[in-house]
Every structure is written in C-alpha cells, then in structure tokens.
Subunit: 142 residues, 2 copies
C-alpha cells in the first residue's frame, strides 16, 4: 500500500513510531517530487524552504526510517550519493542512467523476475533483493 499523509500515522504507529511534523513534511516532499530520485541533501534543501529549523540529521534519519517501513526505496546511481524514491506498491522498476546528461529512464521488472527464478533454482539461492542498473547514453546524448 502506498504511503500518503493520511495513512502515515498508522504506518508509523504500527511500529511504535510517532507522527511528527518533520516526518509529514518529508513525506510530502517525496510525494510532490514523485518521479525524481532525490538525495538526502536535496530533500534537506527543499525541507528548509518550508521549515528552516529542521536538521540535516533528521532528514537522514527519516529517510532511513521510511526505507525500513517500505515507504521509499534507496538507490545508488553513483556511489557516494544515496538517492530515494517513493515505493509505489506497483511492480518494481529499474533504471537506465545517462552518463552524460544524468537522465534516468525507468523500465519494468518482468523479464528479470523470470531470470531471477532460474538463478534461484540453478544455485539453490533464495533471492531477497536485486540491484540492477544500466549505464550508457540516452537518445539525445549519443
């Protein structure tokens, strides 16, 4: 189920977390920027326009918490910078990242699910997570 401002309180309460103004603001920002893949620093800069008093540590903590709760997922296009996006509840997707302009194209998971099943059988390995990224040049940058 996708997180909204309305169900955030119950999502938090289910794990004994409290609903705070900071958490609401950060979720709102993630929702407003659906389709983007924001870093903690970027979220922080947006947050400050709404509540200049908020701390950077709170942004990091909140993003980590939202990951733990399945509200968002963490991405790493470029090491030394973690990015985040809303977990939609729909099917997974992965990313094509343009090495020149930075554009990110999303594609769905279907074919990979099949491949994953084959791997599981072949190696008696129980897959819990996969991280897949393609790098190259987008149509405009070739």
């Amino acid at each position: 189920m996708e997180a909204t401002l309305d169900n955030l309180k119950s999502i938090l309460a289910a794990s004994n977390y409290k609903l705070t103004a900071q958490r609401k603001i950060i979720l709102q920002i993630l929702i407003d920027n659906r389709g983007e893949h924001l870093s903690a620093e970027e979220v922080y800069n947006i947050v400050k326009t709404e509540d200049p008093g908020i701390g950077l540590a709170t942004v990091y903590r909140t993003l980590e918490l939202f990951c733990e709760l399945g509200i968002i997922q963490q991405l790493t296009f470029d090491e030394n910078c973690r990015r985040y996006e809303l977990e939609t509840g729909e099917e997974h997707h992965h990313h094509l990242v343009c090495s020149k302009c930075g554009k990110v194209i999303e594609f769905n998971d279907e074919v990979l699910e099949e491949f994953e099943s084959e791997l599981e059988k072949k190696y008696s390995f129980k897959v819990t997570e996969h991280k897949i990224k393609f790098y190259g040049y987008c149509e405009d940058c070739q």
Copy 2:
C-alpha cells in the same frame, strides 16, 4: 586480453604509464587471488608482507589505474567498500551475494545480454555498462 606480469609493461606503455615494482606486486597479488573479490585494504595488507614500505595511497591509485586500463573491474557488494577482481577477457559474470555468510556465487551474462539489447531498442539508449547484483541466502544459510 588478460593482463599478465609479462604484458603489463606494454599495457602501461600504451597509455604512457611506467612499469614500477609496486604495480608488478599488486598485479601479482590480484593474479594469485583470482576468484576472490578483494578490497583496497585487503590488497594493502597482502602487499605489506612483500614490501612493507609500500603506501596505502599507492594501492588505491594502482587499483584505480588498473580499472581504467581494463585490467580489473570494480565491484560494490556493500556500499562503503569497493572490491576488485581481475578482468578475465572471457564473458562477463555477475554475483549472488549471501546476506548471512557473505559467500559470493558467480553466474554468467548470456541472458542479460539479450535483455540489454531489447532495452537499447526500446528506449534508444546505448548501454555501455551494467551493474547487477542479487542478494539473498545461499544453500547453507536458508
């Protein structure tokens, strides 16, 4: 073509780099540890047993250079620790990483190559590189 101690000099010279004792030692260590996925720190610890005078910065620099030259490739099973392995010149492979015992299983690329071609057509995207990892539990750890 796979790098050896014999062709290292010409590989380096082709890009105006010099052959040094440190570079030879580090390549030898990577060859001796084929199949492992060593971090810079781990390479450094092995290096020191052969030449205690070698600097950590040199290990980092050399691994970076070897990547640039295609002698090795960089891996990231766990962020905040880059790992390296010899580029064999044979077909690519990717990794299943056990979240419990850390075991790494390698699998080949074939199916993914196909999938990649489809993506390129569908999105007019020229893929130059892909990073793919599966996480989960190996046979012994399930």
